[in-house]
């Protein structure tokens, strides 16, 4: 009986499967949310999805952090942290550019009168 409860609680299930569950559910959320977007705002939608997909910057930051934690070089800039630097920079262009251009577009949408 306790075993059953533990299984229902997810013990022994690989974390990847949990991540997959989140992923699949998020696709459904995305499906419904995006269909609800008014066609008039499809261009801002693309600009903002572009900005948020730059959350890949979290991966870039982990790569940058290897500069400080690398045991061999003691804070030297290795290949990974260098790539992390480049990725952070590219994501920053996207995040600032994407959100600001979206804001600029959205501020133009006005009602009658």
């Amino acid at each position: 009986m306790t075993e059953m409860i533990i299984m229902a609680g997810g013990a022994g299930v690989s974390p990847v499967v949990f991540q997959l569950a989140i992923f699949v559910l998020a696709i459904f959320v995305g499906y419904f949310v995006v269909w609800a977007v008014t066609p008039a705002l499809h261009t801002p939608l693309m600009a903002v999805t572009n900005a948020i997909s730059s959350v890949i910057i979290v991966g870039a930051l982990v790569a940058v952090s290897t500069a400080a934690t690398s045991s061999s070089g003691g804070g030297s800039i290795n290949l990974s942290s260098g790539l992390g630097f480049v990725a952070t920079l590219l994501c920053a262009v996207n995040i600032f550019g994407g959100f600001l251009v979206t804001q600029r577009m959205l501020s133009m949408y006005k009602k009658k009168g």
Binding site: T49, S53, I56, G59, T66, G84, L90, V93, F96, F99
Partner: protein, 469 residues
Amino acid sequence: MHFEMTSNLAAILYMVSGVLFILSLHGLSSPASSRRGNVFGMIGIAIAIITTMLFFSISGTGLIMLLVALAIGGSIGAFIAKKIPMTDMPQLVAGFHSLVGMAAVCVAIAAFFAPASFGIGEVGNIHGVSLLELSLGAAIGAITFSGSVIAFAKLNGNMSGVPITFKGQHLANLLLGLGIAMLIGILMKSGGDNQNVFLAIVGIAFLLGFLLIIPIGGADMPVVISMLNSYSGWAAAALGFTLGNVALIVTGALVGSSGAILSYIMCKAMNRSFISVILGGFGAEATTSGGEKEQRPIKRGSAEDAAFIMKNASKVIIVPGYGLAVAQAQHATREMADKLKEEGVDVVYAIHPVAGRMPGHMNVLLAEANVPYDEVFELEDINSEFANAEVAFVIGANDVTNPAAKTDPESPIYGMPILDVDKATTVLFVKRSLSAGYAGIDNDLFYADGTMMLLADAKKMVEDIIKAL
């Protein structure tokens, strides 16, 4: 008080930023809520960045690198966002996609060479699943990058929009795709101790992205940008699995499905199947007609005629197309509409989904010209209204009004949903010349009884009409 960022707290904060991203897209369901949605998105990404900085306690050299990268990248991004003309949004978005793709490639390679920091194993002994995720993230990212660079070049006019095709193209792409799959298999078997295999995957994917987009013609670009939008999402999701990061997984799924839905909407609006767009070549044989065409009589009108007809109408529907933006006539058109409204005419706008060069592009261009969004209607909402309108004022649009899409099964655009402008009492058609449209098809509407052709540059014609009003 000592503050410690535990894994659980970090996971919860990443979830919060994922929820904020959902809310930011949800805000776009109406212009009124959209600005708040955008702010949610900004907060979401700020939370994700700060959480990561604290959790990995980035300090010293790493912190300096991070701040420098943020400052440089942020300034470039802010500058571009401020300066870019709205007509250039398609190439801007394509350009931004290429950056996401490149960032994904960089992160994947970094993780491959420093797996311990990413918690996915040791150099030469990376977990099998992680290798799969890394390879997919890197490959999709690379395809997004090179594909977007080509899309940018085509949209920006650095490269002709004419499809580039060669014999055996599809076979070549198929083989490259299979090659990537095979190399991923080899990599997973070896536990990731063969760096060359990983770099080969990235290299082939770059080539594949390039080859996938060069055969696609200018007319299909709205589908291509949407598709690349989707790819950038899937690349982010793949890396989200590697990092076990909920924010990244959720965002990847949202962006991936968003791009896929937009591609679907664009394909439907052009009555093209997704497969035929991907296979490319559309627009290659666009200019075969000519010469032998019989000269048919048209009714030609002046700006004064147009002003007279519209002033005496009770309802005018303006149908703008991309030609309007090319002629920079948005502002003049809005002025004309204002004048007509002063005369007591009901003026609204009808927009076809592919009126611009990307989804929703024409709406942005009209919004920029201060056209209120509640005067702008989508195809399915306005099509029944043309029968009640005295005048349909078509400016810079052509194929999206062509009745051949309904009547001529031989026509390349047969089956494409069109705006029923021919239902209006009079059609005023502003056009530079009588040449065929983007898809290279003659338009019977030019010769119809109820049509008056206003042959001139769009901006000049509208300005003349304003003077005559």
